[in-house]
């Protein structure tokens, strides 16, 4: 699955968890904290993203992620 396609799913997850955001504000270079997400929002984005891709990834795999690009990379790596 290409990066753009995975990011589109992640973006959907972000907008679902944080419905007050404008879609154009959700860009791949931003972190969830940049977008005003708290710790629960961040967990929700991760879980919604996994669900949209039908993946089940151990939470510790996301430990080093610090922006949406990093999240996309982890999802991509587990999408064999």
């Amino acid at each position: 699955m290409p990066t753009e396609q995975i990011f589109a799913l992640v973006k959907d997850a972000v907008l679902e968890a944080l419905p007050h955001l404008a879609p154009e504000d959700v860009t791949i270079d931003k972190s969830l904290s940049d977008l005003g997400a708290n710790s629960v929002d961040r967990m929700e984005v991760v879980i919604l993203s996994m669900e949209k891709m039908s993946l089940k990834i151990p939470m510790m795999s996301f430990a080093g992620v610090n922006n949406l690009a990093g999240l996309v990379d982890v999802l991509k790596a587990h999408r064999a």
């Binding site: 968890a17 419905p19 007050h20 967990m43 929700e44 879980i47 996994m50 669900e51 089940k56």
Partner: protein, 418 residues
């Protein structure tokens, strides 16, 4: 020195018969029932809140709307209803202008097991893929989530807790909030009667224990809830959230706030049972305790907003208790049951019915007691099928719950600025 008096400076309601206090009051006056046919086995009759559009319901509160959507846009429906009711009460109180420090304001959320429908829906995801359970579940399944949402939105930093007493919760919450103010712990306190959102399992449970009505009147839903009528056969579920802003009279007077009513007293009494059964002695002790607390004699009470759930044993037991408490004055006291219009709103009922009592005092009327064809007591002075004009100075509101919990609140008319 006399103890501090507690007044009501704001009220809010979301119910099946009105989405705010004004429309709720109008529905009470016109006798409009919220009970309808619904798609919820095994009873298929209830009084549900319609048009549950959270964003639309926030439009009267522009200062809080965006924050409320951000905080609770995805919270369970019952928590959203509590927020809308609390914003109405808070706005009416005038306290949002900052007259009191946040640390001087308390929050009592009355009710428990509030989000069962939400939990039931989450369980479908969990049973299939536990990994995909929303992390918000850990927050929202807890009733204390209401405290977090409401305090964050309104900016309350004083004492706060969940107050649980089954169907007496709303009344117990008002009593505890009053005590916080009387004790000087806070100067004002929101008392929220929270909506209980039943899952299909609770519907079945209440049906199986024999508490729910709607059997004989299955084809006539609007007649199914008939408190104190000989054909009553159990409660009809209703949805509501209600909020009262209570405040010390001294604080309210200092800022020139209007007293909608005074919470003159209240009392809670158990009757030592683990069953669902009511008890006339327990109910009477709550009522006499409330009268004593208010310094009021029974014959001074002009109107009782009864618990009146339409349960045969419950209705009869409450009448027995009222006869004991009021004695010779019993035939002169007006009685009605708000549940005949709203259904039984469970933990919200005590707060919703306090608001109903206050708006009847303000509007100089008593609302109908619907579906009362053959009263179970010939001595009782029940309201009939139409609202009547009545000027009430002192009223009592009763609430009883499973587990032998009896609560009674005394309300004194508050027409004048404090």
């Amino acid at each position: 020195m006399s103890r501090p008096r507690v007044i009501v400076s704001g009220m809010g309601v979301v119910s099946s018969i009105g989405g705010d206090v004004a429309s709720f009051a109008e529905a009470l006056r016109s006798g409009r029932s919220g009970v309808t046919r619904i798609a919820q086995p095994p009873v298929d009759i209830g009084a549900l809140i319609e048009n549950v559009d959270f964003a639309a319901r926030l439009t009267p509160y522009p200062a809080h709307a965006a924050a409320a959507r951000r905080l609770a846009g995805r919270a369970p429906f019952g928590a959203q209803a509590a927020i809308v009711a609390a914003l109405e009460a808070w706005t009416q109180s005038g306290l949002q202008a900052g007259a009191l420090a946040p640390e001087q304001i308390g929050l009592v959320v009355a009710g428990h097991n509030l989000t069962r429908a939400y939990q039931h829906a989450a369980h479908e995801v969990f049973a299939r893929d536990p990994e995909y359970l929303s992390p918000r579940y850990a927050l929202h399944y807890q009733d204390s989530d209401h405290l977090g949402l409401l305090s964050a939105l309104i900016g309350v930093k004083g004492e706060g807790f969940i107050c649980g007493a089954a169907s007496a919760s709303g009344a117990v919450g008002i009593i505890q909030a009053s005590r916080l103010i009387r004790a000087g712990v806070v100067d004002a306190c929101l008392a929220v009667g929270a909506l209980v959102d039943l899952s299909p399992m609770e519907w079945q449970g209440f049906h199986n224990i024999g508490a729910m009505g709607g059997k004989r009147f299955r084809d006539a839903p609007q007649q199914a809830c008939r408190p104190f009528d000989a054909a009553h056969e159990g409660f009809i579920y209703g949805q509501a959230a209600a909020c009262l802003v209570l405040e010390s009279q001294a604080t309210a007077a200092r800022r020139g706030a209007h007293a909608l009513c005074e919470i003159a007293g209240g009392s809670i009494a158990l009757h030592a049972t683990a069953s669902a059964d009511p008890d006339a002695d327990g109910a009477a002790r709550a009522m006499t305790g409330a009268l004593r607390d208010a310094g009021v004699a029974a014959h001074e009470i002009q109107y009782v907003n009864t618990h009146g759930t339409s349960s045969p044993l419950g209705d009869r037991t409450e009448i027995d208790a009222l006869e004991r408490v009021f004695g010779e004055a019993f035939p002169r006291v007006w009685l009605n049951s708000t549940k005949s219009l709203t259904g039984h709103t469970l933990t919200a009922a005590g707060a919703l019915e306090a608001v109903a009592t206050i708006v009847q005092m303000q509007g100089d009327f008593l609302h109908p007691n619907l579906n009362l064809v053959t009263p179970i007591s010939a001595r009782a002075r029940f309201c009939g099928g139409e609202a009547i004009a009545a000027e009430t100075r002192l009223a009592m509101s009763n609430s009883f719950g499973f587990g032998g919990i009896n609560a009674s609140v005394i309300l004194r008319r508050g027409d004048h600025d404090v």
